[in-house]
Amino acid sequence: MHIITVGLSHKTAPVELRELLAVPDSRMGEALKRLMTYSGVKEGMLLQTCNRVEVYAVVDQVESGFSAVQEFLVNSHLSLSAEQLLPHLYWYSGDRTIAHLFRVTASLDSMVVGEPQILGQVKDAFRSALTHNTSGVILNKLVQKAISVAKRVRSETRIAENAVSVSYAAVELAKKVFGNLSARTVMLVGAGEMAKLAAKHLINHGVRQVLLTTRDPVRARTMADRFQGSPIPFEEFRSEMAKADIVICSTGASHYLISAEDVQRAVRERMNRPIFLIDVSVPRNIDPAVREVDNAFLFDIDDLEMHVEQNREERRAESVKAEAIAQEEVAVIQKWLQTLVATPTIVALRKRAEDIKQAELDKALGRLSTLSDQDRETIEGLASSIVNKLIHGSVVTLKSVAQSSNGAIYIDAARRFYDLDSGEEASEEDDQLSSSSVASETVKSASDQKNVQHVDKPKFSHEAKG
């Protein structure tokens, strides 16, 4: 049983080629089934994003597995030839596959390192594999581990903390002014796409109230519904500006809508509480003279770009820490994989049975101190024979199925039934692995709300994917 991956990414292949290999969601099941028809392929998962297409598979033999997956990829598009594809592929097996999957899921291999989308995409790929029953014990464990590694990387490093996109940079900057955004009010002036994205991010970060205004009152109302905000008549927004901590301006107007005097007045009304303005409109809608107003912080689209650029460097530094975490976790999963070979499991099972027998015997014989040696022997013999008969069937089954395609499932099951891993692994992962259908639920519930939103709303994708 070996775990391998074959694929290509933005680092090895041009976008034209990646496009050819991409399988539409509707035909994912078909593709996975085709993958499983190759001999020696036990489990399979197809991960695809706009930056990569990768096949993860559990196979009998590494070499034949490589060629099977390679053939699968070549055959995935009629116009594709092996000569065309081969120079762009990478092949990993064993540890390197695991490390690769962990790095990919933790967004260390992404074009924009630290971007949050990849995690959702891995979850999608895993869900497809579960739905079509192409994922088994090993892939389940591996992918779930990869997801938890990604979360660990996120919480223990600042790799994902920094802005990935221009609209998110607005959130970062707002946080540098206000710290916590939870009691803040944001005002949207105009309905530009970027402004809506920024507003969405701000709401995700807890902004309490949304005020919005557009020239078109109907549009203002639909937007108010979308953001659960309160519309303000366009003519009055300047006088209402003092209520807003954050103002995002994005209209099609060709002149300045907000002057330095407007902001000055708002700041005065706010008793010098800082006000944060973002102008994402081109041409600009907020007079650059606002920069001179005390306690007002104005950022235009170029400033936001610059912030993103700075963050890229910061992320590179953090990725070193993240790599170390990924490596650490590879060692953990490797240990688990080793237990899936039959022999250590049989040994552990025998030892467990022996331990229980011995412990119970000691207890019982301790109480029956008056027994003769012969009686003792009879009792010991009785205990041994019960224990041996009880585990005999399991041992025989393990030996016979170990090499079959379901071997890993049996071995894993035996380890659970007899509690052979107690104290070694955190139980959370065991819970997740109970069965394929349950696992599919787990993935869904385990993913936090924000990620689900990222996945569900394709609108976010164009930025992060680039």
Binding site: V177, N180, M271
Partner: protein, 268 residues
Amino acid sequence: MTVVFFQLTLGLYFLGTVMFLVCLDRRSEVLSKIALGLAGLGFFTHTIALAFQLLSGDDLKWVTFHKAMSFFSWSLVLVFLVVAIRQHLYVLGSFILPLAFLSLVSTAILPTEAPVLHPMFQAVWVHVTLSMLGTVGFAVAFVAGLMYLMQERLLKSKQFNVLYFKLPPLDFLDKLNQRSILLGFPFLTLGILTGAISAQITLGAYLSWNPEQTWAVVTWVFYLFVLMGRVTVGWRAKKAAYLTIVGFAGVLLTFLGVILKSSGVSVS
């Protein structure tokens, strides 16, 4: 023994200060943690030194300028360690530790073993301790104001450099500024009251308008205005930052008054 620990403390604060200043330009958190460790170690030796001094049977306790400054430095580091560790805000050390170090150095340089106030009034150390605690509050407010102005400038000029990433949000700094003053003010008030009482006992007058007393009163009135101004006319954010920096200058002048007085320039 006390002297050895003081020198040790001085050395540790110095190393910590240097480390923290180096950290300003580095992303690495390891350096900051080392610097924090040095500060912590310095605080430890400082505590021992102060304890020795207390136990040595010195009745006057904090009454000399030397000891008062040492106590000030010690409290400042204590406040810093608490805030830095709880808020995970190591960058504070780059600002507070130099201040603590300089205060401690001043005790080594200035020839001020003479008592600040007439030792006849034994409880004079209460006055000194309270005033020093008030001063710690204003020192933290001063540092918060300084950091506020720096972060404000970085944001305004769009310099998203290492310092920008390290400095906390403006709102946090503004709140730190306000809270430090709010905490420091009652201590200063009590410090001034006890000072007036001890002056009455030792000099026969509550207020004799010597430089020290004058500046203490001016400082007190100033901070009162700063606190009230925030609520009434919006003296917050940048304005509050400027005001607390000015206010701290007043505090330093008060100290100067004390030094002048205790070196015999003024009435004693």
